[in-house]
């Protein structure tokens, strides 16, 4: 009979198999992680390479004579009269100033002054008008202005538009690019940091260069404010009751199961619910950030309740027993001892819930926060909550929908800003947890 000998110095085939299996498993893990990392690098690389350009914009500096005969025919500086001159009345002034510029700098071009002035953004006339309305004393003087160039010229300076790609384009001609080349050399056309993108509002399809992200950021801010004000007290109250006071019976079990289910419901469902209840039934206004905030509250509540209950649960019973033992009421026990100890966990859960809500688009589609909306910067809290606005992800979606590549660039830029917010919020959540969480 053969004895199956085992030895300490040589490895049996069975052990070899086990060791190999473990090696393979580690390798799978490594491959998994590297695929994940690679995707992350590709994602971030794409976002940065496509979006960073949105933070730069091409400007042109030009001297404009604010001719009194055109802007203030009566010459009495009456604001109401001057307001009657629409943006269309300012266009000839801009055209004229280009003629002056070309003759002053001896620029070579065959273009008519109408086509020359097309290198400017369509927003220039309205900028000029606003400027004049703010300071009527400027009328009659020659003032130096800095305007946006149109998005094709901007794309040309950024390399998005080349002479090759505009061959069939009706939006910009090679002659205009020739002129732009001369102006760039003179330093009259320059790329600069694009503050308008951070502070401005959406623009129509004719002037993507003037579109900004600022107003939708404000919209998102007000929505998050509503979500915070509503979901934190409701969520914490509900979890305290469920965790500390509610009797354990089938009713609380049903509630518990339903809360977990709600957390898994797709967000579009909350959007439809919001449309049906808040807008069609309660007749709240469409496109208002506070309605958006209420819809997102519905979505965030389960997340907050679940994380609050988990952190309440992690407070050891001995704390409660000790408090009750020295004569505290149950409410005193909760508010003096349990809640403060659970606070870091609750905050973390809330911040993560808010971050989720911040990036949510689907429910906003249904309550009218998508379209040409984010145009009026709100001036106060009430206006901020009630006047129509968009939100960051909704604005990104809206831009990505438009066909113009300049809007597309802005959509990527918006993604960068949104990601910065999300990463900041999540980092704060992690720091809070690390610093204040107590292990028992």
């Amino acid at each position: 009979m053969k004895i199956n000998k085992t030895s300490l110095s040589s490895i049996s085939s069975l052990s070899q198999k086990r060791i190999a299996a473990e090696k393979r498993f580690r390798l799978y893990g490594l491959i998994g992680i590297s695929i994940g990392l690679l995707m992350l690098i590709i994602l971030i690389g794409t976002i940065l390479s496509k979006g960073l350009n949105a933070f730069q914009q091409t400007f042109i500096t030009i001297e404009i004579e604010l001719i009194e005969a055109k802007l203030d025919k009566k010459g009495n500086r009456d604001l109401a009269d001057i307001k009657k001159v629409t943006t269309f009345g300012y266009t000839p002034l801009i055209k004229k100033s280009f003629e002056v510029l070309i003759s002053k700098e001896n620029l070579v071009t065959d273009l008519s002054s109408k086509n020359v002035s097309k290198i400017l953004s369509k927003s220039a006339a309205s900028e000029l008008r606003n400027f004049v309305l703010k300071d009527l004393n400027l009328i009659g003087q020659t003032v130096s202005f800095e305007f946006l160039t149109n998005s094709w010229i901007d794309g040309y300076l950024k390399g998005r538009v080349t002479r090759e790609t505009i061959k069939n384009s009706k939006n910009v001609s090679p002659e205009q690019l020739d002129l732009v080349d001369q102006l760039v050399e003179l330093g009259i056309i320059k790329k600069k940091f694009n503050l308008g993108f951070l502070l401005g509002s959406d623009a129509s399809d004719m002037r993507p260069e003037a579109a900004g992200f600022g107003v939708s950021m404000v919209g998102s801010f007000y929505m998050m404010l509503v979500v915070l004000i509503l979901s934190l007290p409701i969520g914490v109250a509900a979890s305290i009751y469920l965790e500390e006071f509610a009797p354990r019976n089938w009713i609380t079990d049903v509630i518990e199961v339903n809360i977990s289910n709600l957390a898994a419901v797709p967000s579009i469902v909350f959007g439809i619910l919001g449309l049906a209840v808040f807008i069609n039934f309660m007749h709240l206004p469409q496109s208002a950030p506070f309605v958006g905030g209420m819809v997102l509250t519905l979505m965030t509540l389960p997340t907050i309740i679940i994380s609050t209950r988990a952190s309440l649960k992690s407070v050891p019973p001995s704390i409660r027993d000790a408090a009750l033992g020295v004569g505290a009421s149950r409410m005193q026990t909760v508010f003096h001892h349990v809640l403060p100890l659970a606070a870091p966990g609750i905050l973390t859960g809330t911040i993560i819930g808010l971050a989720q809500a911040l990036g949510e688009t689907a429910p906003l589609l249904l309550i009218g926060m998508i379209g040409y909306i984010a145009t009026n910067m709100p001036t106060g809290i009430i206006e901020g909550l009630a006047s129509p606005n968009s939100a960051m992800p909704a604005q990104i979606y809206e831009w990505a929908k438009r066909s113009d590549p300049a809007f597309y660039e802005r959509a990527w830029g918006g993604i960068i800003i949104l990601l910065v917010f999300l990463i900041t919020m999540n980092t704060v959540a992690v720091i809070l947890r690390r610093r204040f969480e107590r292990r028992w």
Binding site: T87, N168, M206, I229, G371, T375, L385
Partner: protein, 329 residues
């Protein structure tokens, strides 16, 4: 105590918020995605030149926009429905019972064009009959060569607007039914005992085997579809074509090239009026509504030299009539 205060504060802040929202001070527009760029250009200029806030313009399709306008009267309903198709009779009657009078304001014309990627040349001239033969539900052809031997040897793939779009209605009428008549199918159907209406309906049926794809989103989606399906032909509006001539080119239809001139003259066969419907009951109630409408049809906006024409709208030769009509509202 703390909880009670918090609850009170929350409730009162919400009350204030909704109280401020009851009186709406901006114009609310919804509807056609074809009209959306024009409406947003006008809304932007309106906000700049008047002391009223910039109107809110949502999209979602002509039918959806009209439905929202017809929901009822009140500040939480839409004032204006942009529409690339005309309201149907029964739809109009139903709308009148719920909101009273409404007014149609025509802003200009738009052409419907067949376009494909620049790198896939080959369809210089299409006729409605070709399209009908290619995508009718009675057709089993899968190659353009079988439609017309002059066409390139290429699989048929068409991206047409979905049924909720106004563009589709015009496409059905001016391409499918017209092509059906040219191809003789319409006469055959009528001979076989169908009424004219039934025959029209039969002609509008599009095959469902994947050769023709309905696009429910806007033209950007159609553009993306022909970018990934390079052999495909998409249905676009003229203005979209004019702003994307660096990626797509349009086919002639019946030998006529689509352009603002050929559409204004009526030579180009597939065009349609663009308009918006406005709820009369809201005029005078919503600040800026009448001014917005007047501004929209003014010469400096909708005229042949205005920004809308520059974007691709074919301006209405009878704009003066519309202006007079709007002034009387």
């Amino acid at each position: 105590m703390y909880i009670r205060n918090l609850a009170l504060a929350t409730a009162s802040s919400l009350l204030i918020a909704s109280g401020g929202a009851v009186a709406r001070d901006y114009v609310h527009v919804a509807g056609s995605s074809t009209v959306l760029p024009y409406a947003s250009i006008v809304a932007e200029a309106f906000g700049e030149n008047f002391d009223f806030p910039t109107p809110v313009v949502e999209s979602g399709g002509s039918g959806a926009g009209r439905k929202r306008m017809c929901e009822g009267v009140g500040t939480n309903t839409t004032d204006i429905a942009n529409s690339s198709s005309l309201m149907k009779e029964d739809e109009g009657a139903k709308c009148k019972t719920s909101i009273g009078e409404y007014t149609k304001v025509q802003i200009g014309y738009d052409g419907i064009v067949f376009a494909s990627r620049l790198e896939t040349k080959g369809f210089e001239d299409l006729a409605p009959a070709h399209i009908y033969l290619a995508i009718s539900d009675k057709s089993e052809i899968t190659n353009w060569k079988d439609v017309d031997p002059n066409f390139p040897d290429r699989n048929i793939k068409m991206f047409i607007p979905g049924t909720k779009h106004g563009t589709r209605e015009v496409f059905d009428k001016k391409v499918m039914v017209a092509g059906c008549k040219k191809a003789g199918t319409h006469k055959y159907l009528m001979d076989s005992g169908l009424t004219k209406k039934e025959a029209d309906k039969e002609c509008m049926k599009v095959r469902t085997d994947g050769v023709s794809v309905d696009i429910d989103g806007d033209y950007t989606e159609t553009l993306a579809s022909i970018a990934s399906n390079k052999e495909g032909i998409g249905v676009f509006g003229l203005s979209f074509l004019l702003n994307n001539t660096d990626t797509i080119y349009a086919s002639k239809v019946n030998g006529i090239m689509p352009s603002t001139e050929s559409i204004a003259s009526g030579e180009y066969p597939i065009s349609r009026p663009l308009q918006f419907y406005v709820k009369n009951a809201h005029i005078g109630q919503i600040p800026g509504l009448k001014e917005y409408i007047q501004f929209f049809v003014s010469d400096e906006i909708a005229g042949p030299d205005g920004p809308l024409a520059e974007y691709g709208l074919v301006s209405d030769p009878e704009l003066a009539k519309t202006q007079a009509m709007v002034d009387g509202l």
